[in-house]
């Protein structure tokens, strides 16, 4: 078992087989730097619980293909990313920090799916981006492909 500590000082015990899906922790263990508790100063306990839930479910990824549990795993993944935008953001940052490739792929795809049909205004708000384009520049971009700004799918809500 490996002990992980979140930035709000909560400790979690995780099986080594699960936790080594994180390249970062795997390297720490291999280098002998993971003797007692691994502090994770960038991750809060709420996010860490989510990440551990994912790691535990994906512990036997290789076996799933043999036993035909792929569909089960796919369903879990779909349920897993069914979370709020802020929460997804935290999980992405944690997956990036811990270097968990599969989780990163899953969450980035979910983020892309959410952004896909958003209006420009909604994207700016969701990602907290300040618009530094002049009105003229913005109009020029619209004029280049006006059809990309039209369509029933375009969604101006922020969520």
């Amino acid at each position: 078992m490996v002990k992980l500590k979140s930035n709000d000082d909560k400790e979690f015990e995780v099986e080594e087989a699960a936790v080594i899906q994180s390249e970062m922790i795997k390297n720490m263990i291999e280098d002998g730097c993971a003797t007692s508790v691994i502090p994770l100063p960038n991750i809060d306990s709420k996010t860490l619980i989510k990440v551990i839930e994912y790691l535990n479910k994906h512990i036997n990824m290789g076996k799933a293909a043999e036993t035909g549990e792929e569909d089960d795993l796919k369903e879990f993944d779909e349920q897993f990313v069914n979370m709020g935008w802020e929460e997804l953001f935290d999980v992405i940052m944690a997956a990036n920090y811990l270097n968990i490739h599969e989780l990163m792929e899953l969450c980035c795809q979910s983020a892309a799916d959410r952004l896909k049909n958003k209006s420009v205004r909604a994207v700016r708000e969701m990602l907290k981006i300040t618009n530094d384009l002049t009105e003229e520049e913005e109009q020029e971009i619209i004029n280049d492909a006006p059809w990309a700004f039209e369509g029933p799918e375009i969604d101006d809500t922020v969520n």
Binding site: F89, L127, K128, I129, L133, E136, E138, E140
Partner: protein
């Protein structure tokens, strides 16, 4: 900074002088978003082209990044990895795009080609997201079109200097492929004594006479052979001096290799035996051969790996017809994200999808009005148009910054 001093001393109008002085290259690292740029890149390469063209107007760093060549390349590679392909159908003068992910192949959009004389053009070749169209009423007119960005470039084929006094030669075969070493797309047209290669970056043709084997003229009714594009190569087969796409023991596979700009031979793989009938296709970005024993009710799909070795991909069984009939009448278009095999059937407008896990072959009739010509088209930002716009304006607002 001697360079800046030099600029101010040159006697140029005030506007451009100010522009140059204030100009600082905006990069994606200037992005103010909550995500680090590396993560944002990962997310953005997963978006469809329509979203990306819209999101260019999110901010300056986004515009710079989405317009950059590196981004176009990573986005295309991600599109390939994710299998983000649409089914492209042509029915009269309308191009239809259908969603391969939906079981009924839902209509995503309709497009009319912007140039009137190409509205009924023939779809000749596809490579990634680029389509080569030819106007059937003018033998020299071609268009390279990216339906995802809706951009196009009209090109005319090279003059045939070898036959001044004769009828212009007809194209026997054509192809379209990507040269990764320079990031260029190339069109290749094969005539009987020479072939011509068009470079999208250089916007010019080169004519070559060193064709490895003689090609016979097309007889009336013979079809032009639209080559199979894979990474850096276009493939055809050669049977009795005719360029085709079917492969048997007696045929030779030929290919245009973009690295050497030459046409070469490829030896027919051993699994193509006597009484076998195969066809060339592109599956998962690789050259593929599908077929088997002429009389059997099943066929196999093989793909060629990067190192040139052949790998067996799958067996398709319980065919309603014998292998040769099925393979001849169904053109294998490719493979979806889920690994399902898509083909189209002649002479009726049907799309066949084979689900390997259930060993199930389904057919979808798309419309009764026409004979659609179907291909799979990748979602890509690569623009075939010449880069001539965006030179005007912008100075005035730079002045006030």
């Amino acid at each position: 900074m001697p360079k800046k001093k030099l600029l101010t001393s040159i006697n140029t109008p005030n506007r451009s002088k100010k522009k140059k002085l204030h100009k600082r290259k905006v990069t994606f690292e200037d992005d103010t978003s909550i995500f680090p740029s590396e993560i944002l890149l990962n997310i953005l390469t997963r978006l469809p082209v329509k979203s990306l063209l819209r999101f260019k107007s999110v901010s300056k760093p986004w515009n710079v990044m989405i317009s950059s060549n590196e981004f176009k390349k990573s986005h295309r590679d991600q599109s390939k990895a994710l299998g983000r392909e649409k089914l492209l159908l042509q029915s009269r003068n309308v191009f239809e795009f259908r969603d391969l992910e939906s079981s009924l192949l839902d209509l995503m959009e309709n497009q009319q080609f912007p140039l009137k004389k190409f509205q009924r053009a023939e779809v000749w070749c596809l490579c990634d997201g680029l389509v080569l169209l030819r106007n059937p009423r003018a033998y020299k007119n071609y268009v390279l079109w990216n339906p995802s960005t809706r951009e196009y470039r009209a090109i005319s084929c090279p003059d045939n200097h070898l036959n001044y006094n004769e009828e212009p030669q007809r194209v026997r075969a054509c192809g379209l492929c990507y040269d990764s070493s320079v990031g260029d797309y190339k069109v290749i047209l094969i005539y009987d004594l020479f072939y011509a290669v068009y470079s999208l970056i250089r916007d010019s043709w080169t004519t070559k006479t060193s064709f490895p084997c003689p090609v016979l003229p097309l007889l009336p009714g013979d079809l032009i052979s639209f080559g199979i594009s894979t990474a850096g190569c276009v493939f055809w087969s050669l049977i009795n001096g005719k360029i085709q796409l079917f492969v048997d023991r007696a045929s030779t596979i030929i290919y245009f290799d973009v690295k050497s700009d030459g046409v070469k031979n490829l030896s027919t793989p051993d699994f193509v035996g006597e009484n076998n009938f195969f066809y060339l296709a592109s599956v998962k970005g690789c050259l593929s051969l599908y077929g088997g024993r002429i009389e059997s009710k099943e066929f196999n799909i093989w793909i060629m790996e990067q190192d040139g070795s052949w790998k067996w991909l799958m067996n398709i069984c319980n065919l309603p017809y014998i292998c040769k009939t099925f393979v001849q009448d169904r053109e294998l278009l490719g493979c979806t994200r889920n690994g399902d095999i898509v083909s189209q059937g002649w002479p009726c407008c049907r799309i066949f999808i084979y689900y390997p896990r259930q060993q199930l072959l389904t057919e979808t009739e798309l419309s009764s009005k026409d004979l659609p010509i179907a291909s799979l088209c990748l979602d890509s930002l690569y623009s075939p148009s010449l880069n001539v716009k965006h030179k005007r304006k912008r100075q005035s607002d730079m002045m006030f910054n």
